[in-house]
Amino acid sequence: MVKGNNRAVIVFILLVLIGFLIWIKMYITQTHDTLYKRLESNALQNMKGISKNIERSISEKLDTGNTHTLYDVFKNNPNLREEIEEELMLFISTNVQYVYLVYKDKKDRFRFLADGSSKDKARFNQKIDFDNDNYIDIYTIKKDVAITQNTLEKLSITYLYPIVRQGEVDSLLVFDFSSNLKSDLKKILEPVQTLFMFIYILIGIFIIVTLIQTFYYYQARKRSFVDKLTQTYNRHYLRHYLKTIDISQYQIIMVDFDYFKKVNDHYGHETGDIVLSQSAEVMKTLIRGEDKIFRYGGEEFLLLIKSTDIVVVEEVAERIRVAIHSYDFSVYDMPTQLSVSLGINTAPAKARNIGEAIKIADMMLFKAKDQGRNRLVSNKDLKKVYVEDTYSIRDTIHNLKEAIENDKIMCHYQKIVNVESQTYKYEALVRCIDHEGDILYPNHFLAEIMHTSVYVDLSKRVIDLSTDMIRERSISVSINLSIVDLLNEELTDYLIEKLDSLGEHSSHLSIEILEHEEIHNLEGLKAIIDRLHQYGVMFAIDDFGSGYANFQYLIELKIDCLKIDGSLIEKVCVSEESRHIVKAIINLAQEMNMLTIAEFVSSQEVHDEVVSLGIDYMQGYYISSPETLS
């Protein structure tokens, strides 16, 4: 593809070239005309000399004092007429086609006196039809005249010379020039004109080819900027477009379909495609000409709304939400109503760059999903956080996203053993390798990426690594997931897909539920735990004994194991209260038919103590530090 600057140079060169050729063409035409006029002038000048000689010759042949007209003279003396005709014949050439003498009769008709032609010879006194008044006018002006013959094919110019006797025009000496004069000149200039004709053709072809190429370039460029399915702009164009606008005049809306995977899974991808294209059409009708819509990802759209008024943009977003939610997709055999979640970045110009501005909109979108979907969330109230916060959050999100894309996420595995020190399973602990190759621990990034799509991507990566490990080594692996993770359909679908791929080894996976948050959707959580139980997946409550809602989990969920919080275990030898709580938890677990794991087992004393309390499994630096299993 020709870049913009190169195209401008090519167009400039073409214009100069065309201008030059036009100038050359005009110059040649002008030269042609000048040459022709010069030749014509020279020829006529010669004719004037010749005519004077002929006039003199006629006078000499007549007796001195003869006052009769030439008509009378030639009528009475045919020999003299023949003599004159022979003289005229001498001037017949390639260019001078006819030479003859005519006179005007009483009825202003011209008649031959003498004809120098051998071919097409006229008789004496025979009439000749001239269709031009110049012939008659010479009798008045008494001067020679050149007439350009435009209507006669065989003649180019007629030169008329008046033969004056006794002060009056007696007759006209006529020289008819053939059209050869022009064609001779044309022949002289023909090679040059042919050369230029070829150059014109070449330039013409060059221009046509350039135009065709430019046409195809813009066609291809247009195609490369538009998403085929939705006929909206794509990310490629977004990058290009963002360079051309002042982002401070815009607000960003990120739109994502809720549970779109269901549509694809239940109704097929074709239906999913129709939904996307129809929805895109709906959205297009709800924005103005100066706004732009881009297909940002699979079912994710990004809208650039040209307005600094937050209310306006929220109204647009709400209109889109309502329109999609109320759109009747049943015509595509889809009984369900669809909804979208929307995240708005009301101040994209305050971000360090446009990438970050989009991420903020994406974070708001994630919040909307987190808050129950089919809603919009903007950062208008959170602006302070984003403005005053250090850029570390953004950097973390960016770096982690990069790490996921570049396969820089890994897991360390920490052994969990039984009281006989036999390995029961491994806990997968996520690590990130930074730009310098150093390993970053979750405390460096987990909190920052929580509630972003990057967090989901990271969880997926951990699932990938753990299931790969199960498949390769036939070991049991435990992973940590939050309640939000388990309620994230995209993530659980992904997990189930992976469990399906593990086959009989699917029971080698355990999930430790991080109890950081209150359960909002208990039914949903129970359903997914039940579903995963069918694969033999075991569930443990992580950090049991700290946080809140511990007992609600035990009552409502089918939990297989309690992982006693490390803060209790590490004090089990020094704090009577901790020892009592640990003992109580173990007893409770035994009563409820659940297993127990003590984490943070950091010494022989702690190990012996928890064993004496009846713990089932242990984990900690005393037993094994987290490490790679390669």
């Binding site: 097409d120 008789r123 039809d129 008819d176």
Partner: protein, 141 residues
């Protein structure tokens, strides 16, 4: 190369045709002057004159007997049963050969020329519009 030659050939034929077209148009006018009543003509011209005249909406007949005006381009004798018909000749010299030649159309010095012979017109009771007076000749020179 063949294409160029073909184009030149067509061009030359077209140019040639244009002069003939012009002649046919004048001939038609002259014939109508000689006989204004939906005249039928006969010509001895072997070239494409017949077609040209027909294109000018002149009724060209195959035998001179059925023609009201004859158009002659050569000095070939005409059938006896046609000698009493008015003739338009296409050469000045033919005016002398055919005593019934009332008019001539011919090219002289690259120009179209028209001649009507006054006495012969009178013989056929042909009256000439005044616009044709400048072509009227008392005699053949």
């Amino acid at each position: 190369m063949i294409k160029i030659i073909t184009v030149l050939l067509i061009l030359s034929l077209t140019l040639n045709a244009s002069e003939k077209e012009y002649a046919a148009k004048i001939i038609k006018n002259l014939v109508e002057v000689i006989d204004s009543s939906n005249t039928s003509v006969w010509t001895d011209d072997d070239s494409d004159m017949t077609g040209l005249l027909e294109r000018k909406q002149l009724h060209v007949v195959k035998t001179c007997k059925n023609a009201k005006v004859l158009i002659l381009s050569s000095d070939k004798s005409i059938p006896k049963h046609c000698i009493d018909k008015p003739i338009l000749v296409l050469d000045y010299a033919l005016l002398e050969k055919h005593s019934n030649a009332v008019s001539a159309f011919f090219w002289q010095k690259g120009r179209p020329n028209i001649v009507f012979i006054k006495k012969r017109l009178q013989r056929f009771s042909i009256s000439l519009p005044s616009t044709y007076d400048k072509y009227l000749e008392e005699q053949i020179w």
